[in-house]
Symmetry: C3
Subunit: 191 residues, 3 copies
Amino acid sequence: MAVTDVPTQRDASTDELTKRLAELESRVAELEEARPEDRVSLVIFSGDLDRVLAGFVLATGAAAVGQQVSMFFTFWGLNVLKKSTRLEGKSFFEKMMAIMSPGGSEDLPVSKMNYFGVGAKMLRKMMKDKNVSSLEEMMDLARELEVKMVACEMSRDVMGIGIDELVDGLESGGVASFMADALDSRASLFI
Amino acid sequence: MAVTDVPTQRDASTDELTKRLAELESRVAELEEARPEDRVSLVIFSGDLDRVLAGFVLATGAAAVGQQVSMFFTFWGLNVLKKSTRLEGKSFFEKMMAIMSPGGSEDLPVSKMNYFGVGAKMLRKMMKDKNVSSLEEMMDLARELEVKMVACEMSRDVMGIGIDELVDGLESGGVASFMADALDSRASLFI
Amino acid sequence: MAVTDVPTQRDASTDELTKRLAELESRVAELEEARPEDRVSLVIFSGDLDRVLAGFVLATGAAAVGQQVSMFFTFWGLNVLKKSTRLEGKSFFEKMMAIMSPGGSEDLPVSKMNYFGVGAKMLRKMMKDKNVSSLEEMMDLARELEVKMVACEMSRDVMGIGIDELVDGLESGGVASFMADALDSRASLFI
């Protein structure tokens, strides 16, 4: 009797433990599922040299410490990615926008004290004097570090900027693509 | 002897397992408690049409993928929410601020190339040409998607903006209310 | 036989439970390790009074609800921290930058409607009328609440700003130092 009792008691207790453990395992799996990736997401909204530089310093800095980095270029930020300006096939407003916007990273103004480009030249000169990488070098570095660069589809569409006017190696995506990365990121910044 | 030994040994071992399991359950409960909600929080500091549009694209995009969204309108961002401008009962500075500020979402300038409102009109026209929702349509959509919109109390107080001058359906709150949402969010952005 | 069988069966089952428990303990430890701290990280990129004020309202608000707060001052944001302007020992561009930049928190312009400083004076007057703390009082409060303030090394270097030109009690650090805090934060904002 005693001997047959024992397994019964043992089963009751290990059964209960097994059940609690299984429940806990599924709760831990859910937490692991929700855990952010080692990822940083940046919206580059601004097309000002100073802000864009800050964006690339943050992007390459995050990649250097092992984070996956997504940069989502939208609105004025698209100017950073331009390699050429095409006018044919554009509406009147799109042409105006194209003419008045910087034609690429080398044309970006600074947000303060620009004085028709003097401020941007001055900032670039000061960076060079201190051996700080230029924006173009930082963009190359970002590519080497496999930073994902996404050109916002809606902004391209509104401003009439063709993908052929932008530098190579970009992904194209909308707000849903940014949001998917941002929700899985340890930090997201709007620049 | 052997028979009575068995339960003792078993108890020792299941007791220890039970204890470790209980401890682990409380650690998992703490992790679940600290886990961010499916939430995105935005500070709308800017009152520029282009930045505010980006804010609403992000807000409605986040809501569309099932996130709870909080938008905290502060400083120039309050201009987005104005439905009318009242001058009586305001101090000299409050009147000046009221007269010089946009009277609502339809008056917002753009941050670049505004040229006394031409830039804003041009951006709105370009969006319409591409069948992109206007700011006002996005604000309606945000409301439908139950995006929480909070008007910053301190900014209202400093600028002398009465709650009667703002659109309906807003909550009123301070930095503590924003911070509570942001700390529980998967992504927070300052726009 | 039956008696010796029992421990064997029990061992098999508790052994398996022990193994699963140990595995789960290590997964929970990993989740705890990855869990963000009660921390908020801010990049203060802007040197505009209105944006900087928003930054300090958020920083002190976060500290008031028990968060550790890091503020990383970079680019124009360094102007907030200036206590004096030194010209000797600077290059031509560094001198120009020093002369054209605000000489400290009391000189900051506003981002809109500045009109050669009138806007900043007006904002300060309106805040005083409503008994809202001034920027300088908020900076003192931030210090009392042990908000960590870091002056960006690279920006200091590029702009030629010596640590002797900045207020006391700052840390000096680069993007890696910001990133380390941001990755462990519950919210990060770029201001």
